[in-house]
Symmetry: C2
Subunit: 258 residues, 2 copies
DNA sequence: GAAAGTGTGTTGTATATACATATATATACG
DNA sequence: CGTATATATATGTATATACAACACACTTTC
């Protein structure tokens, strides 16, 4: 029963003429569609073990490199999780899933040919509240580092970076000079980030944040909460606040396979 | 001068012990880093032609498949643009670059085990204003379809979908029943989307939008402007407005290569 | 019983090869 | 001059092969 993927993916049925008249989909795409189908119809629930590459080679009749490409792309898309030496598993479903790249705000501003500078507002050691402990995966009351930095684009305040850092993984955090190098850059060197999580919301700024950003009480802001992992441990949890009128989050996509 | 990438990418220098002690980066990653370096330091500006795969094979000494993987991944990351038969070029710099997946709000609500229904507010033919003409890539005054739909999650208004559609590509748009099938689903069938663009902002809703969403005048909202292409032509331009307190945009990432 | 070694299965990467497909350019022909 | 037609170049995909890296179960050894 080689090469039977259980559903026709080569034609988009009754699509209007002039559009969608593509030939058959590439093989690696057929494999992706088949697996996405199994996931979507609930046949393969989260944490389900996906057949190994060699099993899929036998089942589908394609080469291992083709199977590998399909599985690899589904992994970067966040649909699968792979562990070397162990296997491939269906990832747990995310809400409004999105894939972000992680950037350094200083680089972004530099790319716009603008000047960047940072003002350090706070730089302290504290002990974790319940919320912070959960966010960082440490126990309550354990030491945490806390920094608040305002980033400027051509002398215009553009971001408040409110960050908590796990001292076990980054013991020298407080000794750094973050007017020279952003925390993001420093942390990337110390603990190469392997994974992360974002939540984007629209909010109103707190009074002290309004002061720092020089905005009014009703100005909507873009809030990005970002947690970053390195080797399965949370390195840092940041709250990035942008004034709505001065920042946009641009993006693009290709081949939304959903 | 084979295999000289001009910068050491194999070690992360003085990183703290216990973290970042990875061996040399894989070859395809070295190629990515080299190209990203050329782009970042301005050596290869936007629209600059990147050496062809076979040229890079000669220059770097790696196999074409390795070069191809690097260029392919840089393309999905949005750093490069490739055209078959033509060449590879540096993409124009985006602000805060991000990669989104495109989802159907009805599917999302169903995934949360909630009920979804849609209320059609407007459904009309009009002629394109200057702004709409630019967004859709048609001439000013040409006919456009316009729909406004409110989506409900368990009877709670959760999104205003304000959409303009190119009639040349989707002539039967106004005849559809969007209380049964969302415009997104319908459009995906008619014109398989090949590419798209997002801009995310935090805004305040207009008075008529506040009424539809049952929110106050100062409630910050998440605004997603989304344009969708099919075969190089703009199919539709949508403005998706979410009340800030009722929606979050979640995401995750892996291996931010920047 | 605990530690060290061994084997097997899995993913991760790299290469050589081949052919398909798209685009642009040069060439021949009318 | 205009239009086919061939040719070169570039990307896109598919395969076979090989080895490396890692995890886990099992066996041996002390």
């Amino acid at each position: 029963m080689s090469r039977d993927l259980g559903q026709d993916v080569s034609e988009s049925s009754t699509a209007a003429e002039g559009l969608g008249q593509n030939g058959p989909a590439p093989l690696y795409m057929q494999v992706k569609q088949m697996i996405l189908g199994q996931i979507r119809n609930g046949n393969w629930p989260p944490h389900h073990r996906v057949p190994s590459e060699s099993e899929l080679v036998k089942e589908l009749g394609f080469s291992r490199m083709t199977i590998n490409r399909a599985l690899r792309e589904l992994t970067v898309d966040g649909h699968l999780v792979r562990m070397q030496g162990v296997g491939t598993f269906v990832a747990e479903a995310k809400g409004h899933s999105a894939l972000f790249e992680v950037h350094n705000i200083a680089d972004e501003i530099a790319a716009r040919r603008h000047r960047h500078h940072a003002e350090i507002i706070k730089m302290e050691r504290g002990s974790a509240t319940t919320e912070q402990a959960i966010a960082l995966g440490i126990r309550e009351g354990a030491p945490v580092f806390h920094s608040v930095i305002v980033h400027y684009d051509n002398d215009e305040a553009i971001q408040i970076e409110d960050r908590y850092v796990n001292p076990e993984l980054v013991p020298d955090y407080l000794q750094q000079d973050f007017s020279r190098q952003t925390p993001f850059t420093y942390l990337s060197q110390i603990a190469p980030l392997t994974e992360g999580e974002h939540v984007v919301e629209a909010v109103l700024a707190a009074p002290w944040e309004q002061q720092l950003l020089h905005i009014s009480a009703t100005e909507p802001c873009l809030l990005i909460r970002r947690r970053t992992w390195s080797q399965r441990r949370v390195v840092t949890s940041a709250r990035l606040l942008y004034p709505g009128t001065r920042h946009r989050l641009e993006g693009h996509f290709k081949q939304g396979d959903s």
